[in-house]
Amino acid sequence: MRVLMFGWEFPPHISGGLGTACYGLTRGLSHIPGLQVLFVVPKAYGDEDQSSIRLIGANQIPVVHRQLELKHFSKTLDYIEVESKLVPYVDPEEFWRLTRLEVAGSLKYLNTNAEGKVDFSGKYGADLMREIHDYALVANVIAQDYSFDVIHAHDWLAYPAGIAAKEATGKPLVVHVHATDFDRSGGSVNPTVFEIEKKGMNAADKVITVSNLTRRIVIEKYGIPEDKVVTVYNAVEPVEGHVKEGIKKGVDEKVVTFLGRITMQKGPEYFIEAAHRVLQKMDNVRFVMAGSGDMMEKMIRRAAQLKIMDRFHFTGFLKGDEVFNMLSISDLYVMPSVSEPFGISPLEAMQSNVPVLISHQSGVAEILTFAIKTNFWDVDAMADAIYGVLNYPGMAKMFVSHGKKEVDSLKWENSALHVKRVYDSVLKNPS
């Protein structure tokens, strides 16, 4: 079976959860005998290996086809790059970082607004629609040039490409919902994005969602029939070898960490309120909000207002080893997300032996047992849980002894098998 996959990002360029998930899933799929993935990505950077054959499509869009040999894969991967300016989503901080570094100006990045969603009112808006359109055109060409059995498209920007490929060949289409605009916008949905999302889901033969939480949104808000929507949970790459020695804490104090974009979706304000409550009872604890985002200033003001800035720290955006170092000095990782389709980061914290507190409003809560869960708005419960983990060591001990094992059992190979089953089902009864 050959799968034409419209995915996002590939090493070395991984900027967020979507890239990680696409990569992990593709890797998992490569372990299934008889299943081949034809991986199409929009090329956003330009420093990738150019030694492979270069194809120019009929529509003048350059397409690069290479065969990658990656150490995690059991075989080589057919990998097609489309020279498109699309990037999956850019975190605000990532966006600023990238645009600052950009010299030649040959590549344009999507303008994303405060919450990381695309702002259509600006001049980039028209560009974006053209990009999506172009990408779909290329998809059409690719679909005719290669042979495959199933089409698989990740998240809304790739849906039009998936639809185009389906129209060109009549092969079944699976769309994979990693997030909806309801998650990103907190309810005030962008109608254009909604339209593209809904079109993709309607055109699809099966819709895969990353959690039951997202599945419900797809069913209820997008009106997709229940039997068409299947949940396949994400997984996490196992940590290789033993965990590196992290930095040591300078002081004998507890550290509670929030790590992520400081945007409404992630619920940073609830973390601050909970911290405030804990600090009234304890003084040997520090809270860290790592990351950046449009709500950062507001959060700093709130923390100052609560007079907890001596114990509450903003680090700004962390990358690479800084994230690892931050986790290694943390006693608790908190993810109070308001709406999180899945949320891979708590799994990474658990791999680093850090206990996690997550909101019920995150998809990952559905599969974790060795994690404390509260509602994002229940600041009292959250504060109580934080206090409990820091003061009653029995719980942290248990999380550390069982959490890593639990996370390690979440394998991409298993998720891939579920996805394979979805492929089988659409091949059996083509609509």
């Binding site: 047992t369 404390i372 109580d384 206090y387 409990g388």
Partner: protein, 445 residues
């Protein structure tokens, strides 16, 4: 002739309210009165009252041929008094038939037997006193919380003057041996040991209403035939279960009440079967062997061990923290603190923290006020933190502190005396100079 020993356990814990860490040191009331009262009322209406009524009728009908045994925890008795006094009355009515035996246990339904003999003894004695007060007889047979038993515990119980003890007929203890005989303790053979026939007990307690069970529906005739068809040399069938089986775990519409009624009638009618209380069993039969239980067993879960209460790190921490207070508790005589101390020890609190059954927690979820074991743990530890602060204040650690307390008491006493004297002085003053009274009160304002 085989005899059947029916024993029912009655217990309700005092569940804690949501006690947040910011309540520590501020609010000392820990209990969720609403939940406790509504659960008690629910169980009373569905189980205790109708089941007691049925038993009373059967006891009167079969005059001396039908017998049962109960153990009722101090927690349950206290809740009867608070929320359902008619239940307590109905148990007293059962006691008056003379065919009902009340067993001894720990007052708090606690796990203290694993920790401290002295405290264990205190709790058993206060429970015995309570049983005597309400049901007119001092218990002669003992059942530990959740049928927890080991050789050492058996010996402790024998030292307290009990003749016999009940426990689980756990497979890994018995091996090829049958639970349907009387055994005795390995350390002190004078203590008889009655072993639960878990297969036949669980047929009623867990499987009765399960219509996917191959033996469903279970009729009294079928059940009695199973017992009759056991090896003819076997002597005693111990059927031990939660009293809440009747009407609560197995709802009324499964026919559980009719089953109980007909079961009693069938056995009484039969030539080869009879009923006995645990005391009678211990007197009538000769122990066939000692039963060796070096590590504690219980009647819970598949493992029949202590892991339901002390299986994970949270439970162990909570349990050890609780009993680390023991040295102070022994010097404490504040009745309010002692009451909280009794309620804190209830094994149910530890049960709520169990993580063994993340997938199918049906038994564990029963009456469980918490959504997750973590909440249960955090809540318990918050309560325990507040309690230990209060205890520390009431019973200071070292002699110096004791001295300070004594001096403070002395100062308080003296101040009280001074106030009294001042008041007396003022009285005499006002009597003498009535005209001055107004100016005095004005200056006070």
């Amino acid at each position: 002739m085989k005899t059947i020993c029916l024993y029912f356990q009655v217990h309700q814990p005092f569940r804690f309210r949501r006690y947040r860490f910011f309540d520590i040191g501020k609010d000392h009331y820990y209990y969720d009165d609403y939940t406790n009262e509504s659960i008690m009322n629910k169980v009373a209406a569905k189980c205790y009252l109708p089941a007691n009524e049925l038993l009373l009728k059967a006891l009167n009908k079969h005059k001396g041929k039908f017998k049962v045994a109960f153990s009722i925890t101090g927690m349950a008795i206290e809740q009867f008094k608070l929320y359902a006094p008619d239940v307590l009355e109905s148990f007293k009515a059962l006691a008056q038939t003379g065919m009902v035996e009340f067993l001894g246990e720990t007052y708090s339904h606690s796990l203290v037997s694993l920790k401290d003999y002295e405290e264990f003894k205190t709790q058993v004695e206060s429970h015995s006193a309570l049983m005597e007060e309400h049901f007119g007889a001092k218990p002669q047979v003992f059942r530990n919380t959740e049928l927890i038993y080991s050789d050492q515990m058996g010996e402790m119980v024998a030292n307290m003057g009990f003749n016999a003890m009940l426990t689980e007929g756990a497979k890994h203890i018995l091996g090829w041996k049958s639970p349907n005989f009387l055994y005795c303790n390995a350390a002190n053979p004078r203590l008889k040991v009655l072993l639960k026939n878990y297969k036949l007990s669980d047929d009623i307690a867990f499987r009765f209403g399960n219509n996917s069970w191959s033996e469903w529906p279970l009729t009294a005739t079928k059940y009695v035939n199973w017992i009759k068809n056991l090896d003819s040399r076997e002597e005693v069938i111990n059927l031990f279960m939660d009293y809440e089986t009747f009407g609560e775990h197995q709802p009324r519409d499964t026919g559980i009440f009719q089953f109980l009624e007909h079961f009693a009638a069938e056995v009484v009618k039969s030539q080869s079967l009879s009923f006995s209380t645990p005391t009678e069993v211990a007197q009538k039969f000769q122990p066939v062997a000692t039963v060796s239980v070096p590590h504690p067993i219980s009647w819970a879960d598949e493992e029949r061990d202590l892991t339901a209460w002390l299986g994970n790190e949270m439970q162990q921490e909570a349990f050890n923290k609780l009993y680390s207070l023991l040295p102070r508790i022994k010097h404490c005589n504040d009745p309010k603190l002692m009451k909280d101390w009794r309620y804190l020890q209830c094994s149910d609190h530890f049960y709520y923290m169990c993580t063994k059954f993340f997938s199918d927690g049906d038994v564990h979820a029963y009456f469980n006020p918490y959504e997750t074991p973590y909440e249960a743990f955090i809540n318990y530890m918050n309560v325990l933190s507040d309690f230990s602060l209060r205890l520390k204040a009431a019973v200071p650690e070292d002699a110096e502190n004791k001295e300070i307390i004594k001096l403070r008491e002395l100062v308080d006493e003296k101040e009280l005396r001074i106030k009294e004297l001042e008041a007396a002085l003022n009285k005499t003053k006002t009597k003498k100079t009535v005209s001055k009274k107004e100016t005095v009160s004005k200056t006070k304002v």
